[in-house]
Symmetry: C2
Subunit: 292 residues, 2 copies
DNA sequence: GGTGTCCTATACGAATATGCATAGATACTA
DNA sequence: TAGTATCTATGCATATTCGTATAGGACACC
C-alpha cells in the first residue's frame, strides 16, 4: 500500500525535472519533496531517479510507473475541476490568461468595471504569450487569438479584430506617409521575428511578404507597439487599440489585412460555475463593447 | 491543490461505507480517516458524506467525484502491480487464494516442499470459497475451479479433477453398497444446498438430479467431506483426494461424473515476476503430481 | 427493556513530518 | 581559473499529524 502523496511528489518531480521546481509547483519545499522521493524509493525497493547536477532523471525502472502516476494526476485534476464547477458563490478567485497585448490594452477598463460590480470576485491575470493549459487549470478563462482544438474546452468567439497599418505622427513628419502598399518597401517596417503567423496572414490576403520585409524585428508585441509609437517605424496593430492612441495615425486603410479572431475559452466543467460564468460574460460583453 | 492522501481516504470511505472499515482497509485508524474526511470537506467547502448511525453515505455533491477518485485508485493499483512485477528477488511474500477444499487437502504437501526449497519466499494462503479479485491484488495467485473471464488475467489449466461417489466403510457396513445409480435414491446422499453447479453437472452427464435427492445438505465442502468420512452418508468427492483416505471407499466407479477443471490464475503484470512465477510453477507441477 | 454491537466524535501524549538555514557539489561563464 | 548560479543533502527546532483510549449514540436481538 503506497502513500498517494508520495506518488504525487513523484509525478511532480518527473514533470519538473528537479526537486526544487517540483517543490515550488507543489507549494512545498525541496527537502520535503526530496524526502518523499527517498521514502518512495525505499518502499519500492529500487531507485526512481538518477541524481544529477542539473536535476533528477527517471531511471528505466521508473519509466513504466510514470503513465500510471499521470493517470492519477489527470483524475485528480478532473476532480478538482468538478469541485470548482460546483461552487455557486460569487466569491473567490478567477484566473484569466490573455496575450500581453490584450491584457495591456484591452483588459484594464473591463476588469476595472468588473471589480466595481463584483468586489468579492478576485481577479488574477496571467499576461503571457504562451498558451496555457486549461485542462490543468493553469487558468479558468483564456483569451486567445487561435481557435482551441482540445476537446473538453468550450469556446466563444467574441469578435474578429481588424488589423491596420500605423505609424507615429513623428515618423510620418520625418519620413512621410506611403501612398500604396509597395511604398512600404522603402520604409522601416516593424514586424515579427520568429512568429510567422502575420506573414502567413499576408500571404492569405494575396500579399507576398517575407521576413526581410521587416528591418526591425521582435516577437514582443507590446515592445513592437511602443517602438511604433516612438516613431521607430511603420507597423501593424489592432485597429480598436491603435485608433484610441492620438500619437499614431492609420495608413493605407484600403489595404485588406487579415483579421485576428478573439476567442474566450474555458473548460466545460467550469461552464456552469456561477462565478466564472459571470466573469466570462462580463469579459465577452465588455471586450465586444470596446472592440465593436 | 488537494492532498492526494485525503482523496485516497475519500475513496476508501465510499467503498467501505464507514470510517472504521475504511480505516482497517487502509491500515490506518478510524480517527485519522475521520479527520481526513473532515479536512477534505473543509477544503472543498461542502459536505461529502451524511453521517448516519450505520456509517457514512455520500452526498449528491460527492457522487460525481467518486468516478475520478476511483480512476486515481485504479491507476495507483496498476502502478503497484507494475512495481511488484519488477521485483526480481526470490524473497518476500506470495499470496495464494484457493477454495477451502483445495487448500485443506491438496496444498499442504505442495506448500511444505516449496517452503523447503525456497525458505525466503513467505507464503500467505487465503482459503475461501468466494472468488477474490486479482485485479485489486487481493492475491497474487488464485487456484480456481471456474474459468476466469476477466481480461488482464492469465490462466493456466493444471488438470481436470475427476469426481467419484464415495462412502465411509462404516456407512457401507451399516447400509450396504449401492449396486447401480438408481439405488442411491434409497441411500442418504450428502450434497449441496444452494450451490447448484454439481446438480447442473449431473444434468449435463445425463442424470436427472434435484435438490431433494440430498437429505443432508450443506455448502461447506470440508464439512461435507467430514460428514462423509464419519459415515453420515454417500457423497461426491475429488478422486485424487478421496482415494488417499483409507476410511472411505469408492462406489459405482463406472458412473460417469462431471470433471472439475483446476485453473491457476494470475495477473499478467505479475507473470514475469520471478518470485511469483516460481511459486506458480511449483504449484502447477506439485498439484499435477498429486492429481496426475 | 436490558444488553451487546456497531458506529462516530473527542482528548491527549507521542511519533512524525515539515520548513529554515546551511553545507557541498557540479556546470556554465567571464 | 575564479565566480556564479544551479541543484541536492543534512541538522535542528517546530508544527503537524497520528494512534490510543474513551465517551456517546443508534440499532438489533433476546
Amino acid at each position: 500500500m503506497l502513500d498517494w502523496s508520495l506518488l504525487r511528489s513523484f509525478l511532480a518531480v518527473v514533470d519538473a525535472g528537479s526537486l526544487s521546481v517540483a517543490a515550488e509547483r507543489l507549494g512545498s519545499t525541496q527537502p520535503t519533496v526530496g524526502r518523499h522521493i527517498r521514502e518512495l524509493e525505499q518502499a519500492l525497493g529500487f531507485p526512481l531517479f538518477r541524481r544529477q547536477p542539473r536535476g533528477l532523471e527517471p531511471t528505466p525502472a521508473a519509466l513504466p510507473l510514470i503513465d500510471d502516476a499521470r493517470r492519477m494526476g489527470d483524475a485528480a485534476e478532473a476532480l478538482a475541476r468538478k469541485v470548482a464547477g460546483q461552487d455557486e458563490r460569487l466569491t473567490g478567485p478567477v484566473r484569466i490568461t490573455a496575450s500581453r497585448m490584450v491584457a495591456l490594452h484591452l483588459l484594464p477598463p473591463v476588469i476595472a468595471a468588473l471589480r466595481h460590480d463584483q468586489p468579492d470576485i478576485a481577479i488574477e491575470i496571467d499576461a503571457t504569450d504562451v498558451t496555457q493549459n486549461l485542462l490543468r487549470r493553469d487558468a479558468d478563462i483564456a483569451l486567445r487569438m487561435v481557435d482551441p482544438t482540445q476537446n473538453q474546452l468550450v469556446r466563444r468567439k467574441i469578435t474578429d479584430i481588424p488589423l491596420g497599418i500605423y505609424a507615429a505622427r513623428s515618423y510620418i513628419a520625418r519620413r512621410g506617409a506611403p501612398a500604396k502598399l509597395d511604398d512600404l518597401l522603402h520604409h522601416d517596417v516593424i514586424g515579427f521575428d520568429r512568429q510567422e503567423d502575420l506573414i502567413r496572414g499576408f500571404a492569405a490576403m494575396g500579399h507576398t511578404v517575407t521576413r526581410d520585409w521587416f528591418p526591425l524585428r521582435s516577437d514582443d508585441h507590446p515592445l513592437l507597439w511602443e517602438l511604433l509609437r516612438a516613431g521607430a517605424g511603420i507597423g501593424f496593430a489592432q485597429v480598436p487599440i491603435a485608433d484610441r492612441d492620438p500619437e499614431v495615425l492609420r495608413l493605407l486603410p484600403e489595404v485588406a489585412l487579415p483579421k485576428m479572431p478573439l476567442w474566450l475559452v474555458m473548460h466545460e466543467d467550469l461552464r456552469h460555475n456561477r462565478r466564472i460564468r459571470h466573469v466570462a460574460d462580463h469579459l465577452a460583453s465588455g471586450l465586444l463593447g470596446r472592440l465593436g
